[in-house]
Assembly symmetry: C2
């Protein structure tokens, strides 16, 4: 079958002929229709993520069950989406059955491939870690990113939260408003901490989803409420802080939690997938929550897809479609 | 009445004649028998804590109710202990009735004065913030300090936890063992992170109580389990961190929470006091949990008491006794 692996000499992506994967008890073999592109794939391509044991890239797919080994729930032909542990950029991929999610009928495979990674990350950070409560205020950075667009919708629809977003252009902010965001901040022209305080009577946000890290540290500190929860899920603005005043964390009683999704255990991913689809499945079915897709590339253009993400040009997800066009 | 205030010119403590405080609805006037000395008092003396509006130092007392305004629970003559918001180093102090705790009969006033601040801090950090579960592993730094000695006992008695402590001398570590600590680490002669990993099959501690801050940062990172909780309650080893790698917090899924007790709200202190005495009162009554007292100074020697704490010579609490010796 065709699959995308990393050329170790120049760190580019190569479409190659590789062996079809084999499944074990409890696993599904998926005929992949579409796969999502994620920043963790870029890190893997660059050789920076230590957990990718599968030479084929890709952590999420949507497709059809080709084979089910010991699953009482799924049968060949079922439409499923979900997380894979590498191997998504290929015609066939292996997925543990307990984390596979049935694709709502209203969604195409392309749309379904845009769901697992960003919606599960958003759900994990908002609810499992961030403990978002009804009508609280949440500050979501990179609002037009994949996780950002998922988090805006979940926070509004499931929790009627007051959603404050930052993004770097009017186009992106307008899109966030369409998804339900209440307060829109252009970080290039506005001091976001001042805007957050204005929007919260000087109190700050109950919860911050932080994909940025170092560059936003001081302003996040100023934007968070006393006893606020701050979830660190990305370091797009740098991973190294020069100076941290620990007293500032103590005096505001801040809870800072770091997280990643990809290296989590199988059990964790299964429980998260099951809880997410229970909480949000109806909304997806009724399209009141919807995946946001920026662009779809054919698998053979995986390099362009990565470049597109690295340029931060996307609003929502970048998707790869299978099978590649044969030449 | 006599009370201790700060001489603003040389930042020393002065025993002065001051007006007796007046109480409002819901408050108790306490004839103070003993008051505890705390690091927050040193910060106040140095002009470094911004919350001390009362010119008289002291955040905890034990004594007799002299007057109760609108309390259906307490009457004059009752023996009580609890947190005050400044004003403890004096013959009379004001305490909101809803945070006053009845002194167990087995305890003297001197012993009772050693309880509120350190046991409430230990309870807050172990349970409200640290969510300690039965038989988890907790790393308690400064094990022979006031909060350390309280935390060791609570973690053992209430949660049957595996308690790992650090301290700087064999004398201090022997004392921690008597209180129930399981693993004793001399931070001056041993690398505590290596010892913690040895004691936990390489997994690390579920919970860290960190009074140290900057000096222990990297070793705490190495000592904590994946998804561990790290409660930051002091910066004895420096409050300013240089070069923090945020990815290290993300990749271990660490939850870091800062906290302080003294500036918390009245409601918070009342709820904490009530829950603590419900959880630990019987143990205190039966002396299976006991306050640890290092030394008692008369009120007039408050300067010596502070110096004793600053020299880190104490095991357990430093107490002031009232009334001062009249000259």
């Amino acid at each position: 079958m065709k699959g995308v692996i990393v050329n170790q000499s120049d760190r580019s992506l190569e479409l190659s002929d590789i062996a079809e994967p084999e499944i074990k008890q409890g696993e599904l073999l998926i005929k992949v229709s579409h796969a999502g592109v994620n920043r963790t794939d870029i890190a893997t391509r660059e050789g920076k993520s230590g957990y990718a044991s599968n030479p084929v890239l890709g952590v999420e797919v949507a497709g059809t069950v080709a084979e089910a080994y010991g699953s009482s729930f799924f049968s060949p032909g079922d439409r499923v989406m979900g997380l894979v542990y590498g191997g998504g950029y290929a015609e066939y991929a292996v997925m543990p059955a307990d984390r596979a999610m049935t694709i709502p009928e209203s969604l195409s495979f392309m749309e379904a491939a845009a769901i697992p990674e960003v919606f599960l990350t958003a759900y994990q950070t908002l609810y499992w870690i961030g403990k978002l409560q009804k009508q609280e205020t949440v500050l979501i950075h990179a609002g037009a990113s994949g996780v950002g667009t998922a988090a805006i919708q979940l926070a509004k629809q499931l929790s009627d939260a007051k959603v404050i977003v930052t993004a770097g252009s009017t186009r992106k902010l307008d899109f966030c408003r369409e998804l339900g965001a209440d307060i829109l901040i252009n970080y290039k022209t506005q001091a976001f901490d001042e805007e957050v305080l204005k929007a919260t009577d000087g109190e700050g946000a109950d919860l911050i989803l932080d994909f940025i890290g170092a560059d936003y540290w001081d302003k996040n500190l100023a934007s968070i409420k006393n006893e606020g929860r701050w979830v660190l899920i990305g370091v797009l603005g740098g991973g190294e802080l020069e100076k941290v005043n620990l007293m500032s964390i103590m005096s505001k009683y801040i809870q800072l939690t770091g997280t990643l999704l990809t290296p989590r255990s199988d059990v964790y991913k299964a429980e998260l997938s099951q809880e997410f689809i229970k909480a949000a499945g109806t909304y997806l079915e009724q399209t009141s929550i919807r995946p946001v897709i920026d662009v779809t590339f054919p698998l053979e253009k995986a390099n362009e897809a990565h470049q597109h993400m690295e340029d931060n040009r996307n609003i929502g997800k970048i998707i790869l479609s299978m099978p590649p066009v044969e030449k």
